[in-house]
Point group: C2
């Protein structure tokens, strides 16, 4: 029998698992709740128990598994296989994840951070089409990313490669970022950032707008509400959309000048706006990227959704 690989996507709410072929085809998929009680001390034992059960049910032994890969929040030491400072897991101190899993299961274990692992997933089996040069940008509550260049995931000298959300792009009315800097991409293109833009432009926009009424009356507007209104022609909504496109489009153009990847893949909750998002972004991108790059670097939507993590994690084994 040919060996399988296992991918694990560890999150604050659930732990997702998959068993895949070495070609990246998902053959089995399941998840368990993440128990963060007692300083997250149940998490790794729960993962081990769930893996043992499933392998047993499927009649698989450790010899059938080439390795296990995991994506985790927090700061990862890839060589030692440890995680520290993953606050949504209650992991404040160093967790020897690799050591625990390898000694319990006898299967080689590999780990990287969740944004990098999602990038690897989209690169391998998603919009990246397994090209050697792919950049992944995820627009969620924050803005994360991962860079694959020359076939390698780029961690950089201090492990902070792919911190795309902290590229400075807003020189108009820079907003303070959670990182302490001003004008980061995250402050204007994350789900929160889009709401920031709504409030910013509502202050000066005096015309007719449903979005303006919602904001002025203190309603809880979301990025989805803003983009839906923009699609329907709401003038303030369109102002937000155009500025979102401008900030993200220039960031993508600058990434492309540096790396000329075959694709910049946009994922995360905000990317649910789909072609509407892509259209505005592409226009700014093409106007601001080095002309020779138009054609070779394409802006694409992510294709794997929530599976990017388990698939990319499994690819760490290969």
């Amino acid at each position: 029998m040919t060996q399988k690989i296992i991918g694990i996507d560890l999150g604050g709410t659930s732990v997702k698992f998959a068993i895949l072929t070495k070609d990246g085809d998902v053959q089995d998929k399941w998840s368990i709740a993440t128990n963060i009680l007692d300083e997250g001390s149940h998490i790794v034992p729960d993962i081990i128990a769930s893996l043992k059960d499933r392998l047993n049910d499927l009649g698989l032994t450790k010899d059938d598994i080439l390795g296990i890969g995991m994506g985790s929040p927090g700061a990862i030491n890839r060589d030692k296989g440890t995680v520290v400072g993953a606050y949504n897991l209650n992991w404040k101190t160093v967790q020897p994840v690799k050591e625990q899993i390898e000694s319990a299961l006898g299967i080689p274990f590999f780990i990287d951070n969740d944004a990098n692992v999602a990038a690897l997933g989209e690169k391998w089996k998603g919009a990246g089409e397994n090209d050697p040069d792919v950049v992944f940008v995820t627009l969620g509550t924050g803005v994360g990313g991962g860079v694959v260049a020359g076939g390698n995931l780029i961690h950089g000298a201090g492990g902070a490669g792919g911190e795309i959300g902290h590229m400075v792009v807003d020189f108009d009315a820079p907003i303070m970022c959670t990182c302490g800097k001003l004008g980061c991409l995250e402050t204007v293109t994350s789900a929160t950032g889009i709401v920031n833009l709504g409030r910013r432009y509502a202050q000066t926009y005096a015309g007719d707008s449903e979005l303006k009424r919602l904001i002025d009356s203190g309603e809880d507007v979301t990025a989805k509400v803003i983009f839906d209104l923009a699609k329907k022609g709401d003038v303030l909504g369109k102002i937000v959309y155009e500025n979102f496109s401008r900030y993200l489009g220039i960031a993508c153009a600058n990434i492309a000048c540096l790396l000329n990847p075959s694709a910049i893949v946009i994922g995360g909750g905000v990317s649910a706006a789909g072609d509407f998002l892509l259209d505005g972004l592409d226009e700014v991108f093409k106007a601001n990227v080095f002309p020779q790059i138009i054609g070779s670097t394409k802006i694409k939507l992510a294709q794997l959704g929530n599976d990017a993590g388990i698939i990319g994690a499994a690819s760490l084994v290969l």
Copy 2:
């Protein structure tokens, strides 16, 4: 005898050669004039003749040479070893450089573009300290660059990786770049770009300034004149210097957020300003980069000067 490697830096004025050990120590160095007459048809034969002569003089045969690497202007096909559109060599049509050199000398030949090769040189034997993640920015007549990430030179999908000069950074009063876009890094931080800034701020600056007098009286000011005046405290000169630092510092911060290289190495003629340049740049860089990156990514001055090309070219062989 251990084998040597040869590096060639092909330019519009001269062709520089070096024979190096596999550790990158230059053992012999010479140059010839570039004869661009007759559509540059003498260039490759001249290179072959010069190599034959020198190897002969040194008593070396083709078996003593592991390979030859070359940096060239123009658009390079690395696999085929051809060059096209190198206008300062008068090479308008496709030149089969690899084929000509290999058939004449029987030594394996490798080629890449001049900016990439200079980046490899600084990465290997210069300020990059042979780290796997190093970005090189050259500030000359234009702004060029090269990206080494995860140990590999990054060419990207269309061969335009490292086009750092065309990152968009000026949103204040964007100047048209030779590439057709507005606000490129090159328009405000190349030698020409620094003069652009001098003219821009001279228009609105009304105070006392030697630089203002020079510009207003139509003198030919250069980047060197402007930086020398800034060093001496000329107020307009300092305004130019601060804005140059701001544009380049933000570009470097954004590069570091994406790649977290151990070093961003600044070379080219403008870098002769030395520590004065570094001080202003570093201040903006640190204020704008993701805080975790401060310490792991350092801004450094290039160390190899004109030798970066021959050394980096030779490294293509390895």
